[in-house]
Symmetry: C2
């Protein structure tokens, strides 16, 4: 598990001042395995921080995404959620229960895309949808 000090270091290295709010939000997203939305982050940290604005959460998450520290998922078309898992992986969303899950993925997949000469790729997301094992059984 990553320590708060290491997370702080990581923000500084990215040129981001580690305010109390930013560090708390960064820690929450990095340690969550649930792909939280801004709203979820807000609800989770409101008490801990005493006061917190939803605007701050939105702004901070955007800041982290732009800095490449976390990634934004648009696999569900009705909201954005965020992912602090730095390993390459694909995402699956169940059309029945709505759960979003991580899937391991071999690195070479991007070499299967053709015609990328001249492009600069900064983000790649593979989204799969269908039925998860639990929902398929029923």
């Amino acid at each position: 598990m990553v320590s708060r000090a290491e997370l702080k270091e990581e923000l500084i290295n990215a040129g981001i001042r580690p305010s109390v709010q930013r560090l708390a939000i960064f820690e929450y997203v990095r340690k969550s395995c649930q792909h939280p939305t801004a709203e979820v982050v807000y609800e989770a940290l409101c008490d801990e921080l005493g006061s917190l604005s939803l605007t701050t959460v939105y702004n901070t998450l955007k800041l982290f995404v732009d800095a490449g520290l976390i990634s934004m998922l648009t696999i569900d078309d009705t909201f954005r959620c965020f992912d602090g898992n730095r390993c390459d992986h694909a995402h699956f969303r169940c059309n029945n229960c709505g759960k979003i899950m991580d899937l391991q993925m071999k690195k070479e997949f991007i070499s299967l895309v053709e015609g990328l000469d001249g492009y600069e790729i900064t983000d790649a997301q593979l989204y799969l949808k269908g039925l998860c094992p639990d929902c398929k059984k029923k």
Copy 2:
């Protein structure tokens, strides 16, 4: 190029009654290479159809997506767009100019995802982002 009669046939085969509006919307999305939004479809067909409601466009596109006739893209987090191209391909969105482009892709990519036993996959989208060749030059 696909004929209107063939498109009509395709709707009927999918159990969808081919109303004037539906056929026009289906034809437009299938023949477009531009990944139109609901708004764009609406603007394009308003004149041709005399009258058309934006609600109808939204409902109809959803109907087509649910029937598997077209696909919905969420590569841009601020709007949905639609894709009538039935071949497997990836999408790229330029962070600078916003353009969304098709990229050819080899079929085997889904075999690079691990741990899919028990899942039923109905949709797969690969989204790449970065700079397109034109914007990279500048």
